[in-house]
Amino acid sequence: MTALPNRRRALIAACALPGLVAAQAPAPLKVVASFSLLADMVAQVGGDAVAVHALVGPDADAHAFTPAPADAQRLAQAGLIVVNGLGFEGWIDRLVRASGSKAPVVVASQGITVRRIGQVTDPHAWQSLVAAQRYVENIRAALVAARPAQAAAINARAATYTGQLAALDASVRSRLAALPPGERKLVTSHDAFGYLADAWGLDMRAAQGWTTAGEASAADVARLIRQLKAQKVRALFVENISDPRLVERIAREAGAAVGGTLYSDALSPPGTRADTYLKLMAHNADTLLAALMAGR
């Protein structure tokens, strides 16, 4: 930007009402978040103090992300980088190093109770609203450190947001209380909902031996039906069976309900039903509860 527009803008600001001069805030802090859910959290806490970009956008798979040169450029220009950690973004360290970015890297999951699947760390901690409050706290601290002048506004927004997360968590727990523990069985083909199941006391099991690639065999279908029957499962969430008719048939034969879409690693596109983290978690909770109730 040349000097002239700056001077002109200063002139306009000086001519304006004194109240508006105070609104002449510094340019927003450029934050790059690794994926869409984190970006939403940063935007909620940072408000107009930040301009957030998600490397892995809505409806995209963070596991299959291939960085583009523009991503490295964004990192180089960023004032703050927010990642999930727990091995979720295996590509991020190299990308940050390659970009030559000097920005501090915040690990949002710092300090949560880590869940393990066998030997492997389960990175999908944001699926627990309790852990998410820790995420918000980590993000808040980092934003305040980067923009101490706007600490009051950031702290206030973080407190409001944490309150909303806690309220949603409490409402889900109270609705779940109507279901005895034995009636909270679900089968899913995802491995992304371990934290969610732990937090809300759901008995979530994997679809045994279900592979995503290719056409299903009668043996696969029979095994899944036997499992659902034997474990008296209430609801079936198997999204990577791409034929909805097959899911319907399996569920009906096993006496279980077909669950809807659960969002795991990405927000849905803006303007749709799960375009913020809070809406995503509310949607997942509603979907789970509806399926469990329908299976009664």
Partner: protein
């Protein structure tokens, strides 16, 4: 594992196995005679071409209405009939042969269908959604297959004789009755209906596979058209049953299991069949020479 446990118990325990079996048996019942007539009329490849011609109709119906069996079946039916009618019309009014014009129109339809699906975005999912799976046969699909099979048998019973005459001596039929073209159109409608039922209920490979392979294999065992049809029906039914059991016991994909079994029956028939087989050609000839 007992014999009962191996060959009966899966169908007792699981409803989806029973449904799949019934769908195979029903489809086999009408595919036997239709496939036999296709072979006799030297239209063995027309089934495949018509199968591709269904695609744009099913795709348009899916994009307009969503996952609805009646809408997608109707769309597929109309698209395939339109291709058949256009190909027939061109053959009638120009010097082009029908197989050439059929190839032209089915390729246009196929490319149009792929274009529609790709414009919609997630091509892989839609390709799977457009065609059913033998393991996911629901009530509507079962009714469609059974209805088409029943209607096909009734229609075939009515026009069986003229169809056969036209197969072997179209000139004679034209001289006697003059309705050869009408019967040909009716037969094409039957063919399309069977393909649509097969596609929507059982999947891409299944429809043409169950239609053609048993009919071609039957050629190695019989000569009369009635016997050919009966043997083709029996082979289709046996392959449906055997293929499902293979899929159940060995964890193989169901559609390919059934069709590959039919393919194996064809290859075996080709080797040891009583007519037009390798055995009939070489073994019998050899004996003649030594005699």
């Amino acid at each position: 594992m007992t014999l009962y446990g191996a060959i009966v118990q899966p169908f007792i325990e699981f409803g989806f196995m029973r449904r799949a079996l019934v769908a195979c048996l029903a489809l086999g019942l009408s595919c036997g005679p239709v496939g036999t007539l296709l072979v006799l009329r030297r239209m063995s490849l027309a089934g495949d071409a018509m199968a591709h011609a269904l695609l744009p109709g099913a795709a348009v119906a899916f994009l307009l209405v969503g996952l609805s069996l009646p809408a997608m079946s109707l769309g597929a039916f109309i698209a395939a009939l339109a291709v058949a009618a256009l190909a027939g019309g061109v053959a009638r009014f120009t010097a082009q042969r029908e197989d050439a014009s059929l190839a032209g129109f089915y390729l246009i339809a196929l490319a149009g269908g792929v274009m529609l699906i790709s414009l919609r975005g997630n091509s892989v999912d839609l390709m799977r959604v457009l065609f059913g799976s033998i393991l996911a046969v629901d009530d509507a699909a079962l009714l469609l297959v059974a209805g088409v099979a029943s209607a096909s048998l009734v229609v075939l019973a009515v026009v069986w004789r003229p169809l056969l005459v036209e197969c072997f001596d179209p000139g004679f039929l034209r001289a006697v009755a003059g309705h050869g073209a009408l019967h040909h159109q009716l037969f094409l409608v039957l063919l399309v209906a069977n393909l649509v039922a097969g596609f929507q209920a059982l999947g891409t490979l299944m429809a043409v596979g169950l239609l053609m392979l048993p009919a071609i294999a039957a050629r190695c065992w019989a000569q009369s058209v009635g016997r050919l049809s009966a043997i083709a029906c029996a082979i289709a039914a046996a392959c449906g049953y055997g293929g499902l059991l293979l899929s159940y016991h060995f964890g193989l994909p169901s559609g390919p299991s059934i069709v590959l079994l039919a393919g194996a029956v064809y290859l075996v028939s080709l080797c040891i069949g009583t007519r037009d087989s390798l055995r009939a050609r070489f073994f019998t000839a050899h004996r003649h020479r030594t005699a």
